[in-house]
Subunit: 395 residues, 2 copies
C-alpha cells in the first residue's frame, strides 16, 4: 500500500469540498477538474508526505503542461526551507524546463508572504504559470490572499480539488493553527516492554546511537523542547541539539521546563545562551498557551512519564514518535503512568503516519515508530475487536 | 541489508568449522570449497530463513550442476512438511530438471529417518546426485547417519562449509535439542505502552483480527500452548486453533496449564478431546521437562504476565513474537511483571529475527515483531550505550 492510498482508504470529510464560481458549472454538477488534473493532485498529495510534520503543513506541488504531462514535482521539507511551489519551480529552473503556460497543482493555497522564504504567488507569476489549482485555503491571516494575488495577475485559479484528502493530510496542523497553539510532537524512547528507565533510575541509553542522532536531528528542526521539573532534577539533561561528535547544531530549540518546582541554579538545561523558559504549571493547555505567546509553533515533548501522560490525557499530541529498543527490563519506570482509562474500549487509538520517511523505520538496532491520533470524526462507531472478530471470541 | 548478510554481520563461532579428510588438503590450508559451492551455501542459508522456527531447524538446500549453475532451491516449511532437500528435489522433478551428476548444498546433514516425511538421504541417492556438501551435523540420534548412508551409496560427501553461520542460524534450536527441552516461542499481544489488559481486566481484543488470525495459524503448527492457572481463572480461554469463521484447524496443540491451583471442572480449556495437561509447578524448567516427556518439541507460551516473566527470567525463550497494537492504555496489566533486573546494564538484549517473513511485519493495523535472544558468547563485552555514544552523553 502506498502512502497516498493509505490516506485515501480513510473516510474523509467530503463535506469540506468548497465549490467556487470556476468549478461549479451552470448544471450544478461539479465537473471542473480533468483526469490529468486529478492525477496531478494525487501525485502532489503523495509528494507532500515526503516532508516532516511540524510548524508548517505538509504540502506537495506538481506542474503539468498543456498536454497533462507532469513536468516537475515539489514538496515542503519543513520550516525554514522552500515551500512546495518554490521547490517545484526551482527544480524546473535547474533542469531547464520552461513552465510558461503550465498549470501548478498544489495541496494548499500558495502563500502571499512566506516569512523566511519568498512569496510563492510571486514565484508562480514570474515563472509564467497560467493556471493554479489548489486543494484548500491557507488558514493563516498573514499568508492568506495568495489566490487573490494570482487572480490579479491574470492567472486562472481554481480550488477544492481533493479538499478532503488535503485537510486529512494535515488534520492536526489545521487544528493547532485554529486553536492558536504549537503543533506537538511527543517522543518516547522505550524498551519493548515500554520502560523508559530501570528500577535504579538508569536510562542512558535505552536507545541506540542512531535513534539518539535522529532525535537530535529533530531537536534541530523544532522551536522548543519540553521536559518536566522532575526530569531536570533526576536526569539533568542539556536538551541542546548536537551531532554525533557533540558539536551543537546551528539551530537550537528553546528549552522549556514545566512544573511548579524551581529549576536549580546549576541545572544543565540553563545552558549559556539564556534560551530556557520555566513554565510554572502542571496544565499542558496552559503550557502550550505560554509557549505560543513566546512564538513557539512546533514543540517536542521529551518526558518524563508524568509530562508524557499529561499531554496524552489532554489530547494535545499531534504526532507520536517511539524509539523502540529490542530490550526488556520487566520493571522500572513505565513510559506512561495513567491516561484516565479504565477499560479497553476507552483505549487511545492511533494510526500509522506515513509522512517523513514512513511509519516504521529501522534505526540501528531500534525501530522508529511514527503515529498520529486516529481520525474518528467521520468513522462509524465501532464495537471494539470483539465485534469485528466474533468467531475467535473467548480465545 | 539482506537477511543473510544480517546473519553474517555478527561474530560467529568460527571455531565450529570441522575440517574433514576431504576438505583438508595436504598443505594444511583449507581450500576444499569452490566459489560456486560457497555461493550455493550462501543461497541455501538465505533460503532457510524463509521457513518458520519451531520443533524443526531452519534448513535450506541448493542444487548446483557441474558448471556451478544453481538449478533449484528448497527450504523447510516447518514440522510435518518436506525437508529442504526433498523440497528442492520435488521442485526439480516438477520442473523436469535432471539432477543426475549434480551437487546438493545443504545447511544441515541430510536425515536418514525423517519421521513424517521420507528420508532425505534416500531421495538424494534416487535423484542421481553425486556430491553432497552440508554445513553441520544433525544433532539427533534418530536422524544421524545420513552422511554415512550417502557415502555408502558412493556419493562424495563433504561438510563444514559455513558451519558457523549454520549453527548461528539455528542457535536456539541446537540448544533446545541438546537440553532435551521443547523449543519455546513466547507470544505477547500488547499496546504501544506494553499493556496486555486494561485496569478492569478487559483484554479482548487488544490485537486486530489479522494478528489474532496469525496467532491461530501459529497454534495450528505447534505441539503445545501454555498459560498459567491465573489466565484460565480470569480469561477462561479455549486455546484451540481456529480459522476466522471459528472452524477448528486440523492440527490442535496440546493445551498446557501451569500453576499450583486446580483447573476448574467447567474451564473452557478442558475442551472435549481431553488434550489438556495440568503442570502443577511454578518452575518453567520443570514444566518444560514434563512437556518434553509428553513428546512436545515446540511450545508456545501465551501468558499471562507471571508466566511470560518466569520463562523470560529463566532464559528459556527461544523466539519472541510481539503483536503491537497502535493503542495506548496508560495503566492496567503490564506485559511483564519483573525479570529480576534492577539497572539498565542488565537489560535483556534481543535481536531482530529475519526468519519466517521477517522481523517486522504489518498485520492489519498492528505490527508483528519477531525477535530472538541476542547472541552474546563471542561478542566483546560492551559498555552499554553510554560508551557507544559519548558525545551526546548527558542528553
Amino acid at each position: 500500500m502506498t502512502a497516498a492510498s493509505g490516506q485515501r482508504a480513510m473516510n474523509l470529510p467530503v463535506a469540506e469540498f468548497q465549490p467556487t464560481a470556476e468549478n461549479q458549472p451552470a448544471t450544478g454538477i461539479v465537473t471542473a477538474f480533468s483526469a490529468t488534473e486529478t492525477a496531478a493532485m494525487d501525485a502532489a498529495l503523495e509528494a507532500a508526505l515526503r516532508g516532516p510534520r511540524g510548524a508548517n503543513p505538509l504540502v506537495g506541488a506538481v506542474v503539468v503542461d498543456a498536454n497533462g504531462r507532469q513536468l516537475v514535482t515539489g514538496f515542503h521539507r519543513g520550516a525554514g526551507t522552500a515551500h512546495a511551489e518554490a521547490d517545484a519551480i526551482a527544480q524546473a529552473a535547474a533542469a531547464g524546463i520552461d513552465l510558461r503556460g503550465s498549470t501548478m497543482v498544489v495541496t494548499l493555497e500558495p502563500c502571499n508572504h512566506c516569512g523566511r522564504t519568498g512569496p510563492c504567488a510571486q514565484a508562480i507569476i514570474s515563472a509564467g504559470i497560467t493556471d493554479v489549482i489548489y486543494a484548500v485555503d491557507d488558514p493563516h491571516d498573514p499568508a492568506a490572499g495568495g489566490a487573490a494575488t494570482l487572480r490579479g495577475a491574470g492567472i486562472r485559479v481554481r480550488s477544492g480539488l481533493a479538499a478532503g484528502e488535503a485537510l486529512e493530510l494535515n488534520r492536526h496542523w489545521f487544528q493547532a493553527v485554529a486553536a492558536k497553539r504549537p503543533f506537538v510532537t511527543l517522543h518516547i524512547a522505550q524498551t519493548l516492554d515500554s520502560r523508559i528507565a530501570a528500577e535504579d533510575g538508569t536510562s542512558q541509553w535505552i536507545s541506540c546511537p542512531e535513534s539518539l542522532a535522529d532525535n537530535h536531528g529533530l531537536r534541530g528542526r523544532i522551536d522548543a523542547i519540553l521536559v518536566g521539573t522532575q526530569t531536570v532534577l533526576v536526569d539533568n539533561p542539556r536538551l541542546t541539539a548536537r551531532d554525533a561528535s557533540g558539536t551543537p547544531a546551528g539551530h537550537q530549540p528553546l528549552r522549556a521546563v514545566m512544573g511548579l518546582r524551581d529549576i536549580p541554579a546549576d541545572a544543565a538545561v540553563r545552558g549559556e545562551d539564556g534560551r530556557v523558559l520555566h513554565l510554572p504549571t502542571r496544565d499542558p493547555r496552559e503550557a502550550l498557551s505560554q509557549l505560543y505567546t513566546a512564538g513557539i509553533r512546533h514543540l517536542m515533548v521529551e518526558g518524563g512519564s508524568r509530562i508524557l501522560s499529561a499531554f496524552l490525557t489532554a489530547g494535545l499530541v499531534d504526532e507520536l514518535i517511539v524509539y523502540l529498543a529490542p530490550t526488556l527490563l520487566g520493571s522500572g519506570t513505565p513510559a506512561l503512568n495513567g491516561l484516565g482509562i479504565s477499560t479497553l474500549a476507552e483505549a487511545q487509538q492511533w494510526e500509522w503516519d506515513q509522512a517523513d520517511g514512513g511509519s516504521v523505520r529501522s534505526l540501528g538496532r531500534d525501530l522508529r515508530l511514527h503515529l498520529r491520533p486516529q481520525h474518528t470524526e467521520s468513522l462509524e462507531p465501532q464495537p471494539l475487536r470483539a465485534g469485528a472478530e466474533p468467531a475467535m471470541g473467548g480465545y
